[in-house]
Symmetry: D2
Subunit: 362 residues, 4 copies
């Protein structure tokens, strides 16, 4: 209950540190009978993997996943699926010099307040490396949702600094290292990241994620709403500072006549609500946006203190992403998948007898 | 597990419908020994109560809370505290005509898909009336946090439509029906709400909420982060579509050198992070913003369908707030209090032996 | 999370004290569409009600249940069902003299160690009166199980002191105040209870409870086994000190050839396992036994101490059952029902796609 | 939520199958600062390990545990501790012939009903091999409890078939392969097990487990009582069919004057209650008994059916314990430790402010 489990029926418990033996997770609650092997998981890990372009951290991790349990004769058995990814390219000596110092905007200071001890090597548990476990679990959730409902989950970057990626060409996303669906902006992004690296600075990002073919009826009203759980899941990604569902923060200046999604026998006329009303999916596309703060680890020195309380100047070296948002898309997709499968299982637990309402429009 | 409980150690289970016998909640996990009576809860309910000004719904509810259990000789005993607020001013006949029709952007359509049945009277369970139970529970959490840590929680409106309430004079908030901390904008708000009502329209809002004197160390990294739980809690409020912690969505265009909060022996030099790094409180003020969509119940007709799937024109009558954001502040404060007390209890469960880290700066 | 909720999908949160405003519970997770009114619950409460014969406590409680929420037009809506039973016959002055004294084998001493405060009136939260809330919730679970699977749950007393109630005539159980299925033993039981009351003493009991027509496949292996959850549920009843599934403690002297239940195409040849193997129901009758300690509140004085640590002689007056086991049957039935409905919902969450195994024998 | 996690604050999630890659668990919620290495865990695993005497299964497993995460510089960090034990001596071909057949009293039939698929090799997930993960987790709990409160947990066998091990000499337990505290009975036990093996039969057992120096106040009244959680934990061990706390099933024939534990300023005069009243520890020794059914895997043929529903004769070969109770003691100790640490953490979450009641007697 230290908060390393997500989900109430499809429960994913994450473990591992950036520079320990490895990272992984246990998935408890995956339905039996799903065809599954490492080959279903590895491609998602490869999308998130560090060191794949010069725009992200140069740490080289193969990120090879091993299924330790829960699969027999190529199918899930309904028992816990344990996944393990060994760390291989730790360079912990890079971190010796920050052992006694708190890096600004990092978890360092908060960890020492909470635990009285911290694994300073590469951020330890607070490293974005932990998200590999989420991506692995999400790959299983994605597969189940796709086979069961035809649900497709995908994401892209919408904004980095002042660069807006506006047209959305989904086929472009996998063609560049930025998860950018607007190919025209790729050169500008390349230039920006190069410049930041040379300046010793970093930048934030706004990203988009969606799920199509989500069945209606998912989400529990009042607290465990589908939108609340998506907000929780996205905000739990390292460095995320804001989450929007549907029109998001812009609703503050919208009128009721403008925001409402009218219904017709042929379907909804718009989707301002992001596919969710009253905390429950309507059957429309579920979509969200989230903003990621600029990487805290930068080479421009900043004021800090050490464990003795003395003032010091802090300059973070090591191998870091100038924009942590760049590799967030596979993670956000995974988190959305984990929320949806959990609610799909919850829904059928309580509502399996319900004859789906008529009319059903989308 | 239909999602009507929030909290892992300070667990609040909400029940009740807008036009049923009443609403209430059971609080399981309140520490023993807290002085408590109805008089500690009623003032918070009065802040949220409908019918108190002409700018909000004219439903007249006394919202008198009764403590059914868990308090003996004026103190909490550590056993469940059940709270009950009877409904008194239901006018269910107002809703007969919408019995067969789905109101656009309401939960109606989603509920029927999920449950195959819905209590159409006043929104049933999806009514904002349910938030009274949260406010009642939050009053207890607030009291405990104040006595234990000196934590103060407060909120205000920041934007309604195009009206921005910029200067923050906390003493003004209780002096107007808008929870507006910028007295100069009150006349404009009055005019806007009057106009919307006459036009049969509604408007969204952006609001701010903060907690001061939050001890460092609250929040569990990875999933149950303090920021993730705040996002969950605020997004679970009816009509909320976006949540921001610290700099929020604006981080997308910020640089690392600009966003990071530098540390000195005398404390942090800024608070862009909203008092949370790595999912854990730093001891700085925790603050968040959230956006609430315009009220869905408006008198301007809109396209909809009925339960037979036939097209119809929908015009919602009944007694509604032109801006549901107006009464959201006490609810958001309560939700923040519920998150903080839960994490305070979780923290001492796991970390009670930790000698708080030195240095401790704020 | 102070442990007042049972169930992971059909969650029952109990509240209330013996001499407070009332007792009740909130049921979160009941499927929608179940026909329900107070009339479905009251008969079960009447079976447990005090004061119905001279062999049990003479406290007169009507135990009238009110459904506060979750039911609309005579059907459950899928939202929380809150139930309230007001206390009416408290005589708290009976308890003034024990205010400062710990009654031997009561929860008094442990409560003060845990909470530093206790509601001494009638046992407060530790009173068996709390079980009325469980019976009320169990009535709903029973109804759903009966309608869905034809499951029938029933119980009886097997032993009180040296009196064994051996032949099992289910029609006799409701014909005597002892829930005794062996009518020949009723006069002996009457004589025993009368004698104990005059002697100022009390007696323990062993009871039996079973569920027929339990579908196979319920129960989660490893921890949340069906048998482990039944043990938990029965041991959570006040005064229970032992729980047996199937052959129970007697397996210690059994051989494998004797204990195993052989399978044939026409079904199992025996049911030593109590309808559960590997933690999962087999489709056979699920049955258990449990032992209840003698009532602690007796008029024969015993050694004790007061809150100042001084020795004192303790003689409990008030209105008490000479054998708390006498009224336990409806409670145990309710607990078994709560476990079964919870696992039925869990099963369909995870295994709804499974085509039930062939062969299916019972 | 398929039930592979135990604990609410000290959460242990178990994974793995008898003949898969390995078994293990993730512990989420272990307080930081506990000195920990594999050397703290291995001795407990060695006590449970198969193949150590001719009286138990001849499977040879080194049961070497690896700590994958959560420990840094020899201390726990408060983050999840993942433990992995690789399987090395699987002989899955032993199981080919039972692939299509249900072994009587095994989980086979129930698994196929539940999941539609089963890992038949060595019992898969239902194998007692899974308990190694529990023992590993329990070793950590034991260490924490010992350091924090001086709590000692130990167990022994009390009865195997008709052989009763009555005098309790704790120093003898580790001197024989039966966990027998009555050295005089060891030869009889040796003879019995030898005879059973030659007869192709097996036998049940009754065992005892206790914890001394348990602080008062642990346990949550009503549902999550300490006794209910112990019953749950012990009944969750493979093959357990009965659990007793304190006097256990014998209370059925006891009088109130006989069963109650009187209090004096110098402490309790007896401990019939097993150290728990009202679901809360009193500070006395907590003790329980549990009965384990005879091993289901025996070489005497029995009636069964195959997956096609045809009658067959079943004779289980492979390497099995003639008495599964023989190796249960380290598992039961571990389960008791897991329950106690969980309640210790829960207690301080809610009751950390309570000034322990005076008087405190034991």
């Amino acid at each position: 209950m230290s908060g390393n489990t997500i989900g109430k029926l499809f429960c994913v418990t994450s473990f591992g540190e950036s520079h320990g033996a490895g990272i992984g997770c246990v998935i408890d609650g995956c339905p039996s009978g799903l065809a599954l092997s490492e080959a279903d998981i590895q491609p998602e890990l490869d999308r998130r993997r560090p060191g794949t372009s010069k725009y992200v951290t140069q740490r080289k991790e193969a990120d090879q996943v091993e299924i330790l349990s829960g699969v027999f004769d190529g199918k899930t058995t309904g028992t816990p699926i344990a996944l393990l990814i060994r760390n291989t390219d730790q360079r912990s000596y890079d971190y010796e010099k920050i052992k006694q110092v708190f890096r600004p905007n990092h978890a360092d200071y908060a960890y020492i307040q909470k635990y009285g001890i911290r694994d300073h090597r590469g951020g330890g548990r607070s490293s974005a490396r932990e998200t590999a476990a989420r991506v692995a679990a999400g790959a299983i959730a994605k597969k189940w949702l796709r086979e069961k409902f035809g649900t497709e989950i995908r994401g892209c970057v919408e904004q980095i600094g002042d660069i807006h990626c506006a047209p959305r060409d989904w086929s472009a996303v996998s063609q560049n290292p930025f998860f950018c669906a607007d190919p025209a902006q790729v050169p500008a992004l390349e230039e920006l990241i190069d410049r930041l690296r040379s300046e010793g600075d970093s930048i934030g990002a706004k990203l988009y994620v969606e799920a199509t073919h989500v069945p209606p009826g998912l989400g529990e009203p009042v607290f465990d709403r589908l939108d609340a759980d998506i907000a929780f899941a996205l905000m739990s990604i390292n460095a995320v500072k804001g989450v929007e569902i549907g029109d998001g923060m812009a609703v503050a200046q919208m009128r009721g006549t403008e925001h409402r999604d009218e219904l017709t026998p042929d379907g909804f006329l718009s989707n301002h609500s992001g596919g969710i009303t009253g905390g429950i999916s309507t059957g429309q596309t579920v979509y969200a946006r989230y903003a990621i703060k600029p990487t805290s680890s930068i080479t421009t020195p900043g004021k800090s203190i050490d464990e003795a309380g003395q003032a010091t100047d802090m300059r973070t070296t090591g191998r870091h992403d100038p924009c942590v948002g760049l590799r967030a898309t596979p993670v956000a997709e995974a988190m959305l998948a984990l929320v949806l499968i959990d609610h799909a299982l919850r829904h059928r637990a309580q509502n399996a007898d319900v004859i789906p309402g008529t009319p059903r429009i989308v």
